[in-house]
């Protein structure tokens, strides 16, 4: 027996949540669809492929203050930033949730990034299964699926006018009152099946291919912007600098990407990884070799955003297939 919730009950439940919590959901902007705080339930978009930026931006924001420091008559006091409001992230796709789980492996490993931890603890993830796969999706090849409930607190799967509800965690259970749920025998629709990218044994092949000229040829066309890293649900590189105004100091952390020119340039100017080829290679080595070695999983959720936004079509699926070929594992 599956539990379902009607569209009307779903929206009224979200309306109630709106009063007490920060409700973040996909909404239209004058640009692309983005996860934004919702002020009116009507703003929530339920029919969308995926947001331009992943939900990562609400846990590891593009810009965030780590702490404030104030010096009053010779005494300096540090005030760490904290996350106050409880939040609900509604409409997160399974691939973004998997992305968060991958970032958790790095940020929550000892010593845990407590600010990120607060963002995660104080938010409930209400996932929305995908009804159709975009041409760039390949989540099933990266250990998740269009209806994978593993990394969300509640998973909704649209079926005609209602939604099948899968309560996954205690957090989800506590948030969704039972009286809104109906028992039903409706069968979930078959999930879309994006094309398969065979990434088995990619680590071994990557280890062989480090000095291959493939990387510098791939980098020929790369323009080295930060786009692929900023839209990626699993990229977590950052820069830290201070802001000072009228004696009050603010330490700010912002996104940065391994493609930016100064990423490894030291203050004296020495830059061990200066060439374009080496920087682009670093992106794929971190995702397909270093991260798996450290944390046991490929640092990719298969959401396909980098493939979609890359100005010059650097396609990670093509890179994986090419590297398998170079490594002699020419998978049909």
């Amino acid at each position: 027996m599956t539990q379902t919730i009607s569209r009307r009950n779903l929206l009224s439940w979200l309306g109630r949540l709106l009063e007490e919590r920060l409700l973040i959901a996909p909404t239209h902007t004058t640009g692309p669809i983005l996860f934004q705080p919702v002020s009116k339930i009507e703003d929530i978009v339920l029919d969308f492929d995926n947001t331009a930026l992943s939900a990562k931006e609400w846990f590891f924001p593009a810009t965030e203050t780590l702490f404030w420091a104030e010096t009053t008559d010779g005494r300096t006091e540090l005030v760490p930033a904290t996350v106050e409001r409880e939040a609900v992230v509604f409409g997160i796709r399974p691939c973004d949730a998997k992305g968060l789980a991958l970032v958790d492996k790095a940020f929550l490993a000892e010593p845990a990034d407590t600010l990120y931890q607060q963002h995660r603890d104080k938010a409930v993830l209400v996932g929305l299964s995908c009804r159709k796969a975009s041409p760039q999706c390949f989540c099933t090849s990266m250990g998740t699926a269009p209806n994978d409930p593993t990394h969300v607190d509640i998973l909704l799967t649209e079926v005609e006018e209602d939604y099948i509800v899968q309560i996954v965690t205690e957090k989800g259970k506590a948030l969704l009152p039972d009286n809104l749920l109906l028992e039903s025998k409706v069968v979930p629709p078959p999930p879309p099946s994006p094309p398969v990218v065979s990434a088995e044994g990619i680590e071994e092949v990557m280890r062989q291919a480090f000095d291959s000229p493939y990387w510098s040829r791939l980098a020929d066309r790369c323009v080295h912007c930060n786009l692929c890293a900023y839209v990626c649900p699993t990229c977590y590189c950052f820069d830290i600098r201070d802001y000072e105004s009228k004696g009050k100091i603010e330490r700010v952390r912002s996104w940065e990407s391994c493609q930016s020119p100064g990423f490894t340039r030291q203050a004296g100017g020495y830059n061990p990884r200066a060439s374009k080829g080496a920087r682009l290679r670093q992106r794929f080595y971190h995702k397909l070799l270093y991260f798996p070695e450290d944390f046991g999983a490929i640092a990719c959720a298969g959401c396909g955003r980098c493939v979609q936004v890359c100005p010059v079509n650097i396609d990670i699926r093509e890179v994986i297939a090419d590297i398998q070929t170079i490594g002699g594992r020419n998978v049909p």
């Binding site: 780590l66 702490f67 420091a69 010096t71 010779g74 300096t76 540090l78 760490p80 790095a106 940020f107 490993a109 010593p111 845990a112 990034d113 407590t114 600010l115 280890r207 480090f210 977590y236 590189c237 950052f238 820069d239 830290i240 600098r241 201070d242 000072e244 100091i249 330490r251 952390r253 990423f263 490894t264 340039r265 030291q266 203050a267 004296g268 020495y270 061990p272 990884r273 080496a278 670093q282 080595y285 971190h286 070799l289 270093y290 991260f291 070695e293 450290d294």
Partner: protein, 277 residues
């Protein structure tokens, strides 16, 4: 490291600022919180991330030998925004300290061996605690040969301690500069040339070196010519860092993080790195 948020530094106060060379100053810091001070123990080779409030953070090796009552000493060379700001600090100013981070020189394993130290310019900073640790346990180690090179005589680092080092038992201090001037009576030669000239035997010896990348490259060549095996040569790498905690994957050389797996590596380890440093 503050138990709550690893990105929030311990507060410390500048106790004294000593000018070592025209562009290098030695900062002596004291951690404000006594409990933190007592168990902030570290080994030669480890580093800490200093906060120049209002500008940012940067990693610096701990140039002092760990002592609960002792100050934390950092040699800071004026090279960028954070170092310039740190150099302008007066005593009693507030700074932030995160750490201690990274691994350390394997001095315990090197007991009984001869130690051959080769430092270039600010590269002497991580080697200073190695020397002072050896001198404090002098009998545990064999002969200590130190080459300290710099661009010009005034750029030689830790000049105030040269006499102590040179006069210590079974210790030999060789100074060299790239360009001398009329007042300079010492050696004028590049560090690798001095290695060839002194021609130390690799027998039961470990070489510990740190300096600008160009010096390291030619120093390794000379050491290998003298018969030093890669596992007998130890160095400490310097990479741009943002967390120092093995979290942000910024300081990687291949699959190694300089902040977590290093900064101290043997040349044998470095030769196995998938990515050239």
């Amino acid at each position: 490291m503050s138990p709550e948020n690893p990105f929030v530094p311990y507060l410390a106060t500048v106790k004294n600022v000593v000018t070592l060379t025209p562009d290098i100053k030695l900062l002596g810091l004291e951690l404000d919180d006594p409990t933190v001070r007592d168990n902030f123990s570290y080994k030669a080779g480890q580093f800490a991330v200093l906060s120049a409030f209002g500008v940012g953070e940067a990693p610096f090796c701990l140039a002092s030998v760990s002592h609960p009552k002792g100050e934390l000493e950092f040699a800071v060379r004026r090279i960028g925004t954070v170092t310039s700001s740190l150099q302008e600090l007066e005593p009693e100013a507030a700074v932030g300290v995160r750490g201690p981070f990274g691994n350390c020189f394997p001095l315990d394993d090197n007991k009984g061996q001869n130690i051959f130290i080769i430092g270039g310019g600010i590269g002497m900073a991580p080697l200073r605690p190695v020397i002072n640790t050896i001198l404090r346990n002098r009998d545990d180690y064999g002969h200590l040969l130190i080459i300290n090179g710099a661009r010009t005589p005034q750029d030689l680092v830790f000049q105030a301690e040269f006499d102590i080092w040179a006069s210590s038992p079974r210790t030999q201090l060789e100074l060299t500069v790239d360009r001398g001037h009329d007042g300079w009576k010492g050696r004028v030669a590049l560090v690798p040339a001095v290695i060839a000239e002194l021609n130390p035997s690799p027998e039961n010896t470990v070489a510990i070196t740190c300096g600008p990348p160009i010096m390291i490259r030619f120093t390794l060549q000379e050491l290998r010519k003298l018969g030093f095996q890669d596992n007998q040569i130890i160095t400490t790498l310097e990479m741009k860092m943002k967390c120092g905690l093995g979290k942000c994957a910024r300081c990687n050389v291949g699959d190694m993080y300089v902040c977590k797996d290093g900064p101290v590596f043997t040349c044998e380890q470095i030769s196995k790195f998938i990515e050239q440093f």
